[in-house]
């Protein structure tokens, strides 16, 4: 996922350039001859846009493919990182009794609805050149997007897995105590035996990450061939009036989200029937 990126200064300059360009275009589109809603007034446009979209998908259009690939890389990376932290964290909160536990649970549940734009802004401030982590030069790179999405999905995976593990612990608790398991051993046992149910929590996190636009557009900058993902491209192309590409990506996004969720559901359902 982390390739060799252009020097920070160059990338920032380029971003600015891109943003300005898109800004002008947006301006042009809105106030010029071609208003966005004009496109919808012409009903022939939509089928042709979908046709374009399908043909782009069918011919594996290189630009489209690049965007889809980066989307998957960023979101899967974010979900992987968040899962590594959130699954044990959720299990720990489910098992341990400590003062303020209820407050932590409430906070975690509330954070499931973190506004991506705000997370994006916070990460932006952290990573911007004047920010505390500015020297790492991560702003407007896919790494920054992964960081932002990790923060967004972490509470989702942690809160859902906490519930799953708590339910499983109802059943296993006595056995684990009788056996004299350490907390670590208990958590490992519960995570492993709950793996198929936890898949649902992870998928919820992935669904959120892949569909999210607010954070990645702020910290990624929507730079062509660099940090452009499906959602940011859809936002951009729609505002440019280029509905064909936007719709094509929309179709791709829906298909991907549906496909991956369906696969996860089938896996966890089959496994649950099989393993109880």
């Amino acid at each position: 996922m982390v390739r060799c990126w252009r020097s920070k200064r160059a990338s920032e300059r380029m971003t600015l350039c891109v943003l300005m360009r898109t800004g002008f275009r947006t301006h042009e589109t809105i106030w010029g001859r071609r208003r966005p809603y004009d496109r919808f007034s012409n009903m022939n446009e939509s089928p042709s846009a979908i046709g374009t979209a399908l043909s782009m998908i069918a011919t594996l259009d290189a630009d489209l493919f690049e965007i889809v690939l980066l989307s998957l890389q960023v979101s899967l990376g974010a979900v992987a990182i968040a899962s590594i932290i959130a699954l044990p964290l959720g299990a720990l909160i489910a098992l341990q009794r400590f003062p303020g536990r209820r407050a932590v649970v409430i906070l975690l549940n509330a954070m499931m609805g973190l506004p991506p734009v705000v997370v994006g802004l916070m990460v932006y401030v952290l990573l911007s050149r004047a920010g505390p982590l500015g020297s790492m030069g991560l702003l407007f790179t896919p790494t920054a997007m992964v960081i932002a999405q990790s923060i967004i999905v972490l509470p989702i995976i942690a809160a859902l897995s906490r519930q799953t593990i708590a339910d499983l612990h109802e059943e296993y608790g006595e056995y684990l105590r009788s056996l004299g398991c350490t907390p670590m051993q208990s958590i490992a046992t519960l995570l492993w035996d709950g793996r198929f149910r936890l898949l649902t929590a992870i998928m919820a996190g992935f669904g959120r990450a892949i569909a999210e636009v607010g954070a990645v557009i702020i910290v990624g900058g929507n730079i062509q061939h660099s940090t452009r993902v499906m959602t940011t491209t859809i936002a951009l192309e729609t505002s440019k009036g280029n509905l064909a590409l936007a719709l094509g990506l929309g179709v791709m996004l829906l298909t991907l989200a549906l496909g991956i969720n369906a696969a996860a559901l089938v896996i966890s359902d089959t496994a649950r029937r099989r393993y109880g």
Partner: protein, 258 residues
């Protein structure tokens, strides 16, 4: 000491003899109370178990048998009174014990992996694990089922697996909570044979049941519990031929709901 738990000198002598061989005995409870939300579940129970034979806690449903077992295992703490295993506290003794529940708690894994889980948690070296698993499977009559998923087994097989898993490291004490509840007669026989074999190998067995016939088949001594009170503790022969407690007599006559 509960009423009607006579200690003849000869019996005490015999029991003390067995203590020498068993580090966790005698199991002594003194004035144990246990309650939840103001409701008393165990009411002033005291007993002294010295023999390494099979002790059966008998009584109708809701008598507090399972709670008594969990108090002995240290999964619950008495609200009053004390339980000790030999020189050890309940918590220390637990390391040398294992318990099974009425509804077996089997991990969502294969039969083999259920057994391996115990060995892994207890830190048994990798090279010794498979031999222990094979021995346990053979003893429980599950040799061919090692690769099956534990939850696909029949009820009797599940309970035998749970007992085999509890016994895989040969604990000094095995606590069994209603090991044959909801099993058909053939499955009951299989589980009882396994319990018999484990008891014969020198492991102290403390089990609960509401099944009078089973208590007759398995018990060396019987503790009769009703409504949280220990009404009689006597050697099995004595208890079944001439119960001293009137409630116990009614229970044996089938006049109390089992």
């Amino acid at each position: 000491m509960a009423d009607g738990a006579p200690h003849t000198e000869a019996r005490e002598y015999e029991q003390r003899d067995s203590i020498a061989k068993h580090p966790l005995l005698p199991l002594v409870a003194r004035g144990v109370d246990f309650g939840i939300n103001g409701q008393r579940i165990i009411d002033d129970v005291s007993f002294w178990i010295g023999s390494s034979g099979r002790t059966v806690i008998l009584g109708p449903n809701g008598a507090g048998k399972s709670v008594m077992l969990r108090l002995c295992h240290g999964l619950l703490k008495p609200t009053r009174g004390e339980i000790r295993w030999g020189d050890m506290s309940v918590a220390d003794a637990r390391e040398q014990q294992a318990m099974t529940s009425q509804k077996p708690v089997l991990l969502r894994r294969t039969v083999n992996d259920n057994l391996l889980h115990v060995l892994r948690v207890k830190g048994v070296p990798l090279g010794e694990r498979q031999a222990l698993v094979d021995a346990a499977l053979e003893q429980a009559g599950l040799t061919d089922l090692g690769g099956r998923h534990a939850r696909d087994l029949s009820g009797g097989q599940q309970q035998r697996l749970a007992i085999a898993r509890a016994f895989v490291l040969k604990p000094k004490v095995l606590l069994l909570d209603e090991p044959t509840a909801n099993l058909d007669p053939a499955a009951v026989r299989g589980v009882e044979e396994l319990i018999g074999a484990i008891g014969a190998a020198g492991t102290k067995i403390l089990m609960t049941t509401h099944d009078i016939a089973q208590a007759k088949r398995l018990a060396a001594d019987v503790m009769f519990l009703n409504q949280g009170r220990l009404l009689e503790h006597a050697p099995a022969m004595e208890f079944f031929s001439s119960p001293k407690d009137p409630v116990a007599a009614r229970f044996l006559a089938g006049e109390l709901p089992a």
